[in-house]
Amino acid sequence: MPTDSALPIYINGLTKKYGELFALDAVDLNIRSGEFLTLLGPSGSGKTTLLMAIAGFNRPDAGSIQFGDTEMILTPPHKRDVGMVFQSYALFPHMTVAQNIAFPLKLRKVTEAERHQRVEEALETVQLGGLGHRHIDQLSGGQRQRVALARAFVFKPRILLMDEPLSALDKKLRERMQIELKQLHRQLGVTTVYVTHDQREALTMSDRIAVISDGKLAQVDTPQTIYNHPANGFVADFIGESTILPLNNDSSGQLSFNGQHVQSQPADATHRDWSLVIRPERLYLSEMSDAPGRHNATDTPLALDGIVKENVFQGETAFVLVTIDGGHEVSVRFGTGSMSQAGHLQPGDVVTVYLNRSDAIVIPTGDH
């Protein structure tokens, strides 16, 4: 479908103040043509304000929003040609499914025959073929979500905006819809901006994630980079589980933890203080049967001695909480297959926690 009509979005210095509070603080963001970009942040971070600014529902105090070469900052919402899906679906209850989806086509004076055909196509695309005559209150939550989607893309908008569209669905349906949305995006090829506070959803669906906090972008990158190389403490803490430990920096710029060398500080560093970010699933214990295999000849792992505090079974995975020397607490996550011996650990057991140096994430301390 309309890959050719997808448009990039260039956002420059976008600022929006509510009273003394910056909802958006000079945000610069380039969204590539046809990309699935997620705005991820806690509530009140400014992600919805940014989405609403792109849609034209709030007037920023300063800055620019371009769709391709066209400046949109003063264009009213109805002339921006963006499809939009809301958390509440906002379907029109006084119209049938087909009338809902035909609404944007009617406004664009599409002939009745073509309207009918495109509504049917859109219904097929969201797997609701034949349900056009239904009333909105006869649909399940998941079906409503699909109607809202179909209505947002049926007029082939150049940009699709979604504001937490899945958060009202139960977990199983939500996870299925995430995959479907991703496939739909690939099929439509339309530039998509997606807002969520759910980091797993963002990791699952996005080409790139823009992590937003207090009206500023904390990091914009692919899910892998965001997870493996968080730019700062906020991103490291917000995405995934993590333990953040202070590192010791000696005079020659060597970073160490509990006396064990981790890595050299980055050459271009202006900071002195660094922290170690540990992901629970990257740690392992000697009790894990595959542990020796994970030792790499050229990369002796960091070894942290500690005492088991708690052993928590969660179904597909489990984790042990270990208090390591120095009083810090780390959690070690592992699969619950029969190979794993870690399931037998009791509180009070003495263990050694290993971390391969290549899995060590080092971030500047502060701005957390």
Binding site: A55, P76, P77, M84, A90, P93, F103, L107, R108, R151
Partner: protein
């Protein structure tokens, strides 16, 4: 099982043990309604004077009413003023309620209270104020003056009805409509209005009734050829008591009841 042994609610309290409640409720309802209904038999009396119960029956006071130029003129005035008030107050109140609902501004609450003051202030104050203001403006004894004053009384009612309708309305629907290509105005008329239409009709009927039943302001600012039905009834009661009043009252009770039933029906349609 007899009906009085059946539970009246989930708590298993039977209708029988609640009989006292039903009796009290019935008495209160009768006390509320009887004064209104008492005029109905009185209107069919053959007597020169208002009497209850009538000794002889006739339709003469209805003939008197429909045959009287003066009464008919007053009725037409009342219907005119009621209709115009409805046509002015309904859009005004709806727009005000919509604006306050959409804005979400801190001042919106305060503004709402200010706009419904005509409902709270004693009507006599509004009447006196209107009378003096209209004296300067030359609006006493005019349809325009009556419509303006009645609109002030009816608009708060419209606002309250429409505000209640918005309470269950998801305004995101309008945002979606606008993102899909509708202007703000179009979004309101095509998406929002159809969903609150029964409340709007209810509000319109109520604003007509507000004007049609209104006495106090009418006594002050209407007169001569532009006197309303209620004003005439009041003067008639003061100057010469005759059962025409009872006949007119019966007709008014009938109209009001029908309109109120209609509003009930329309608001039940509005889920």
């Amino acid at each position: 099982m007899a009906w009085w042994n059946k539970p009246a609610s989930d708590t298993q309290i039977t209708h029988g043990s609640r009989i006292w409640l039903y009796v009290i409720a019935a008495i209160i309802m009768l006390l509320l309604v009887i004064p209104t209904l008492i005029v109905i038999p009185m209107s069919f009396s053959d007597s020169q004077y208002l009497e209850f119960p009538p000794e002889t029956w006739s339709m003469r006071w209805y003939e008197e009413y429909f045959g009287s130029k003066k009464w008919m003129r007053a009725t037409v005035t009342s219907l005119q003023v009621g209709t115009l008030t409805m046509l002015v107050a309904t859009p005004l109140g709806t727009m005000a309620a919509y604006a306050l609902f959409v804005s979400g501004h801190k001042a919106a609450r305060a503004l709402f209270v200010i706009l419904i003051t005509p409902m709270i202030v004693p009507v006599i104050l509004i009447a006196i104020g209107a009378f003096y203001a209209y004296g300067k403006l030359g609006l006493n004894n005019s349809i325009t003056g009556l419509v303006l004053a009645h609109t002030a009384l009816a608009t708060p009612l419209v606002m309250i009805v429409i505000t209640a309708a918005f309470r269950s309305y998801d305004l995101n629907q309008e945002l979606v409509a606008r993102s899909l290509g509708a202007t703000r105005l179009k979004a309101f008329f095509v998406i929002t209005l159809p969903q609150i239409k029964f409340s709007v009709i209810t509000a319109a009927l109520l604003s007509f009734l507000t004007s049609f039943d209104e006495v106090i302001v009418s006594i002050f600012v209407s007169g001569g050829t532009k006197a309303t039905l209620t004003k005439h009834m009041f003067s008639a009661l003061r100057d010469y008591i005759d059962p025409t009043i009872a006949a007119i009252s019966t007709i008014m009770v009938l109209i009001s009841t029908l309109l109120l039933l209609a509003t009930q029906w329309f608001s039940s349609r509005q889920k």
